[in-house]
Amino acid sequence: MIAVEHLTKCYGDFMAVSDLSFEIDEGHVYGFLGPNGAGKSTTMNIMTGCLSATEGHVRINGYDILEEPERAKKTIGYLPEQPPLYMNETPAEYLKFVGEAKGLKGLALKKQIEDVAGQTKIDHVMDRLISNLSKGYRQRVGIAQALLGSPQVIILDEPTVGLDPIQIIEIRDLIRQLGEDHTVILSSHILSEVQAICEKVLIISQGKLVAFDKPENLEKLLLASNGIAFTAEASKEEIDEILPEISRITEWDVKTQEDGLTAVSVRTGSENVKEISRELFFAFADKKKAILEMSSKKANLEDVFIELTEGDNMAVSDALEESGVEVE
């Protein structure tokens, strides 16, 4: 369906996308995940013909987007990060223009506009100026525009950014529905969103593809980052003495706190967390060192994401705790 081959894009000396290759099959919802500046929008812009690549090819249904742009673009509907709307027009006028530019005419055009307006629930605002519509409705008009001409692939660049929670839920439902008849690719830096709607996730970091799998498989991949965090009344040296006694623990991170206690983060991998916790408890009890607090940490997509995009899992857990990020 879509083949991206060795895609590279440079802005002067800055390499936004570097040797990116992947293939997308028909009929799924794909999530394009990455931190800001990872190259998501650049890749999507190249895939839709809005930007040219420095190197590499994008083929859509076998048509190269640069060599046969008209054929390739007929199979794509694209909503850029900022919906490309003419503020002084009504959605009806706007959709008519886009439909005509996509080659629709007469009754077919009218029917399609009605269909997409119904699908995106904008039928009651069709005659209001776009400049007077709320952000959520503008986003819907943008999606309606992408749906015109019944393209096989719909590419949405951060479709839920800046929307309120109810609008986000509505747009997500809409995307799920679209996934039934179209191939949908959406980009996001919100993990829960990708987890909730996407069947497959591409994680991109610094212009490179770092993972491409189902969300649940990605979590399995990172079982290794499961761990236990505890606070003990012991010095760093004492902890470094006690921990090697437990054979199943191979990696740990120690941090002395201001109150004299020591925070320890232990990596357990796929081992049984409960058993290791018990062993830890008795090992410290034998030495008369109290453990004041202990909790287990389970890797989730958030960790996978940060680990893959930053590559430092120990630091990750601390950062997550400090910033109060909610982990689902």
Binding site: T48, G49, Y78, P80, P84, E100
Partner: protein, 287 residues
């Protein structure tokens, strides 16, 4: 292309642009006709057109400043790029819409000679010949304005560049009398033009080698020609300035000559600047 044309037209007639442009053009021609044809009782309507064409300095930038710049500013250019239409179709569609907006007030102006003919003898052939040339010259300037609009996302900046460009073109014949007519002066001016051309190509293509290559090639050619036969350069600069003037060629029509070479010149200017506009839009993809 038709979709772009229709969309642009509806945009112009829904906003004030088309009306302000028409009002300005009709006001200029109206005042000119009042002074020349009615007050001074001159039967030549073409003189009015010759007189009011200075108004292009203001009205063309008003018309063209937003044509592409606004798309960039509103980020709607991304929509145009992602639609299954070619960049050339976008530019030509937009250009044709501008021509239609320009043609509407001219249709009203076209009635003036007929009205004047009711009250005396009017040279209809020269009047309409000049009106046609007036349209074609305006069309050439609209192409220049479209290109300038494609260079920036700021409408004000587009107008700010277009006004001096057209003004300079208007006065180029007058200025030609003051510039150096010596061979060395002309050669120096050609080298400056070569450098400017190189900078323009670099801006459009981001290809430094191509830009400097062409610049150097022209400079080399100028140098070789200058040292072999410098007499060819005498009076060359004023000559070029006169030849490049869009207005000077229009005055030929006003004087009663239907000059086909001028029409070809205008057509070349239109094609050249539309081509540059397409390149300028294409360049955005390669940024």
């Amino acid at each position: 292309m038709i979709a772009v044309l229709k969309h642009e037209l509806s945009g112009y007639f829904h906003s004030l642009t088309a009306y302000i442009f028409s009002a300005f053009l009709l006001a200029f021609v109206g005042i000119g006709a009042l002074i020349y044809n009615i007050q001074s009782a001159v039967a030549n309507f073409e003189y009015v057109l010759g007189y009011v064409c200075l108004g292009f300095v203001v009205i063309i930038p008003i018309l063209t400043m937003r044509v592409i710049a606004e798309e960039r500013k509103q980020k709607t250019d991304q929509l145009l790029y992602s639609l299954p239409i070619r960049t050339s179709q976008i530019v030509v569609g937009k250009y044709l819409a501008l021509l239609v907006v320009y043609l509407v007030p001219l249709c009203i102006v076209a009635l003036y000679p007929l009205i004047f003919a009711q009250f005396g003898e009017v040279y209809l052939l020269t009047s309409y010949g000049s009106l046609f040339a007036f349209f074609v010259m305006g069309a050439a300037m609209i192409a220049v304005g479209t290109f300038i609009s494609s260079l920036t996302e700021n409408q004000g900046f587009a107008a700010g560049i277009a006004i001096p460009v057209i003004l300079l073109n208007y006065y180029s014949v007058t200025l030609a009398e003051y510039v150096s007519a010596t061979a060395s002066g002309s050669a120096a001016a050609l080298i400056v033009i070569a450098v400017l051309l190189g900078l323009l190509i670099r801006h459009l293509t981001k290809n430094q080698n191509l830009a400097y290559g062409i610049s150097l090639l022209i400079m080399l050619a100028v140098a070789v020609l200058f040292f072999t036969d410098s007499s060819k350069f005498e009076g060359l600069l004023p000559d070029i300035m006169t030849k490049l003037s869009l207005f000077e060629r229009f005055y030929t029509f006003v004087n009663g000559v239907f000059d086909l070479t001028a029409l070809i010149y205008y057509a070349t200017v239109i094609i050249f600047f539309l081509f540059l506009s397409v390149q300028s839009l294409e360049k955005r993809r390669y940024n």
